[in-house]
Symmetry: C2
Subunit: 226 residues, 2 copies
């Protein structure tokens, strides 16, 4: 196939890399949004992201955008879906590659303002405004992906860089999955998923009695499906 770059059917295409960055604070799931400082969608809230550069991979582009727009570094992200509606961008044909990531909000000081950003903040999921582009749709799919991901990967690791107690982890799962668990069964299931290591240290969470601290494993093996 000859790439007919002068054919207007192919001309003026571009790629967005868009990241839904989540955090969970005290059992409340939040997502990072930025307020746009430029056209299009000036002044509107949006997910973090932007146009991919030619000299960077998809993942690297997503990282760069996160860093540029919010100052955030040191986060693991995972590609989950491409979004390609014809009119998703008003300027030219842009296909978005969506990523999800999780981070401990206490660990990062988000830049509330940057060259391209007027403001940035964490939003609870029941309070999402109308976002720029098709970002509401991307966010919805991202939440579904996050729910699938937390039971088969160590994606929550970066939420708990210093380890986590079982009750705190349960609260986090309950927030993300929007479901209440039995303490004993949650513990058994969680340890059975083989994502955690007992550090033999104790810490404090809710009550007075110290709780065991677990850490997420660095590497997780895929489970058999059939």
């Amino acid at each position: 196939m000859k790439l007919e770059v002068n054919n207007k059917l192919y001309k003026n295409q571009g790629i967005h890399v868009i990241t839904c960055l989540f955090t969970v604070e005290n059992g409340i799931v939040k997502v990072l949004l930025i307020k746009r400082k430029n056209k299009p969608f000036y002044g509107q809230w949006a997910l973090t992201g932007g146009a991919l550069y030619n000299n960077e991979s998809l993942e690297y582009g997503a990282y760069r955008e996160l860093k540029e727009k919010t100052g955030i570094t040191d986060v693991n992200i995972k590609q989950f879906k491409a979004f390609g509606k014809i009119d998703r961008s008003p300027q030219m044909r842009m296909v978005a590659i969506g990523f999800i990531g999780v981070i401990d909000s206490k660990r990062v000081q988000i830049l509330r303002e940057s060259r391209n950003t007027e403001d940035a903040d964490w939003f609870t999921l029941d309070n999402i405004p109308k976002l720029a582009y098709d970002h509401n749709e991307i966010l919805e799919d991202a939440i579904i992906e996050l729910r699938k991901e937390i039971i088969k990967s160590n994606i929550l690791k970066s939420l708990f860089p210093d380890g986590v107690t079982m009750p705190e982890l349960e609260m986090t799962y309950e927030a993300i999955l929007n479901k209440k668990f039995d303490r004993r069964n949650f513990r058994k299931k969680m340890l059975g998923l083989d994502l955690l290591i007992d550090t033999n240290k104790l810490g404090k969470f809710g009550g007075n009695k110290p709780a065991k601290i677990y850490k997420f494993k660095e590497v997780i093996e895929d489970k058999e499906i059939f």
Copy 2:
């Protein structure tokens, strides 16, 4: 963010839509490859696909390419991953959106030649040549995706437009998953997955005794994960 289309960091980007189309014949998994008639990768085998047009969705583009290059229509495809290595295309920066699909090879007469295709054929997975672009990598990921998909969706429906007997289905699963099952347990598991309907008809497969014919449901509900 202003889209600086004159900035060479963004210039000359494009999108490929690439489909791994699988079939299973007599317990052998095969994938459709085409032989390229144009540069780049002239004369080399490749997955079906090409550049996305500005006036079509990702999925539609993948369908169009399938039809143009092989004559195949009436197949369900599913997007599974984006591929964005910087140098995956020698001409310009192209990001590929990968799709998988399954079709009954007996039902289609593939065009072995077209405007952009010198030849087209089904290849067994142990006999894949070095493909154009990063298509070997895309194919590997596609196989993994196919294995995940057959136990949670009706993706195999288009393999069996007239329905399928349990032994034939078992043979197909064994081929795709590369695993042997117990006949009785496979049946129970399969019916438990809630993908099939008993048609109350009988057909022939391997032996002399007629076997029940099942059909894949048109619509499948997502299962709870936790």
